[in-house]
């Protein structure tokens, strides 16, 4: 059954000379350099992309959800909220973009948690690899997913009659903003992935965070229709800033203060959750 040839007896490595432990010890270094960390992250991103290509069902959420939700919300709420479907679209599409990008973030945490349970992570942990690489790698690969989610939402919107006044540049800006936000917020879910016991609990906790954040925002309804106490929350909700920023870009082609607030919020999230994730990944052995 096996095809092992006789040369396994002769020694496994053909490179000449003996291993010299003292020389290897002398050549070791205490941590990965910045360049090494970057390379390792990209290699881990390559791995994640390979896995995506071989498990295309991973793309269901980023393809079906934009198509389904955009059409559904537009036809169900359009008349009630904006009088007709067409005038609801400029309000709705950026909202759906924010929503799909956030749900995609959740998948990042769940996938990471599942992945970490596999034997191959033992090997990753035993390799001289920067501790951020196994986390940042898959997240970098997920940029593809955010891009699909945001792009497809705009595309569906255009199909059912949305004509963004911000033009192509505005829409591209809006997509870029949502991809950046998605990547940044994914650190929260990555952190959840490193502290929870199973992929299921990541999913459960993520839903608890996502639902209030997306629905208690201006994503689907104008804030003026809300009671005062709720409007107060909606105004500080970072998702509202993302939605407003995306609207400003797509509908007016304007880089407004909302865009700035969104980016600032992203930086804060990364600054807090990236170190937390690495710390808990390192401890979670």
């Amino acid at each position: 059954m096996s095809t092992v040839t006789a040369d396994t007896t002769a020694g496994v490595r053909s490179a000449p000379g003996l291993v010299a432990p003292a020389a290897v010890v002398a050549a070791t270094h205490a941590r990965s350099s910045l360049v090494e960390t970057l390379v390792q992250t990209l290699v881990m991103a390559w791995r994640a992309l390979k896995k995506m290509r071989r498990n295309p069902e991973q793309f269901f959420d980023v393809t079906l959800q934009p198509l389904l939700f955009t059409a559904m919300f537009a036809y169900i709420f359009g008349g009630a909220i904006s009088g007709n479907v067409h005038s609801y679209l400029p309000l709705l599409i950026p909202g759906i973009v924010a929503q799909t990008v956030l749900t995609t973030c959740m998948a990042t945490g769940v996938t990471l948690r599942e992945d970490m349970e596999k034997g191959v992570f033992d090997r990753f942990k035993a390799l001289p690899m920067a501790r951020i690489a196994p986390l940042a790698g898959p997240m970098t690969a997920d940029l593809v997913r955010y891009l699909i989610a945001a792009g497809l939402t705009f595309f569906t919107g255009v199909l059912i009659g949305y004509r963004p006044s911000g033009g192509v540049l505005g829409v591209l800006g809006a997509i870029l903003l949502s991809v950046i936000t998605g990547w940044s917020l994914a650190w929260i879910f990555t952190w959840l992935g490193t502290i929870t016991k199973s992929a299921k609990s990541v999913q459960g906790m993520s839903m608890l965070i996502l639902f209030p954040l997306t629905f208690l925002s201006n994503a689907f309804v104008p804030v003026t229709t809300l009671p005062g106490w709720l409007a107060a929350f909606v105004k500080v909700n970072p998702v509202s800033h993302l939605v407003s920023g995306t609207r400003d870009l797509a509908n007016r082609g304007a880089v407004s203060a909302e865009v700035g607030w969104t980016l600032l919020a992203c930086l804060v999230v990364i600054a807090v959750f990236a170190p937390l994730s690495v710390r808990s990944y390192r401890r979670h052995l």
Binding site: T3, V4, L18, V25, A30, N55, D122
Partner: protein, 340 residues
Amino acid sequence: MTTTAAIEATGLVKDFGRFRAVDGIDLEVRQGEIFGVLGPNGAGKTTALRMLATLLPIDAGRARVFGVDVAAEPHRIRQLIGITGQFASVDEDLTATENLWLFGRLQGLRSAAARAAAGRLLEQFGLEEAANRPIAQFSGGMRRRLDLAASLITRLPLIFLDEPTTGLDPRTRGQMWDTIRGLVAEGCTVLLTTQYLDEADHLAGRIAVIDRGRKVAEGTPEELKASVGNSTLQLRLAPGADREAARQVVRRVAETEPVLTPESGRMNVPLATADRAADVLIGLRHAGVSIASVSVAQPTLDEVFFAITGHGADADAALDDTGSGESAPAATDHAVQEVQ
């Protein structure tokens, strides 16, 4: 100038909640040797190895690998060690080539060098035909070989092998042994855990026997086996035979206590030399005890354990945390010779 020990560990302790998995183990592994850690499932072998390999934090005690402190400088330790586990730790969704390329890149090889190393290892491990097949289609033996290959991409001075042959068929097992010997011939040091005395016997220069988180014996294979005799007479009594009479005969003739396995009427007698087997058989004939089958085998881990600890090797298998499902009975039926 004295050379640094490959591994120098003192008083290693690991607690999982209230269960102490490793309870003060000392190890000294010299450069260039194969050191065997022998013990049943759940004895703490894997846990001790994972601590030395920076995969588990060390709760108490300290360990150095080539003089580098494991707890203080894990990143440097990871540049010195390769580890191959009981369960293949390769990526299921990637092909064999992709796996090796990935691990090579993560260890600092450039893309072309990693690809070259992958090709070379696949050829040496007889996997080149399967190079571009998904791992999901690999047999257990192929996976294990790929797993070992993944630990050998760069030249590492210390290789940890956690039960490298558990669950493998005898032929693949022999090939794995040859590979391990090849490593040492190149200057590597190997720390190997195993449940099989014959594996430790064939490969290891020195062996530590671990039981319930403690080291209960250490020595060369010869020293360990001498403590239980060099061979074992395995008897199966005929149905209805007088077991107590048989036991008396063994005590009188072989001057030792037989190890009984009541469920199948089996009786194992440790012997200093195989020659004594005939004496026991003649004694049984004289006592009128009839025998269903007879064989002489090397002492098994069970007997070494019984001799050293006073209880069987699988007595605490229930505590196993690393998966006992794969334990194969290969050790006992190895090298059995019929004497009839």
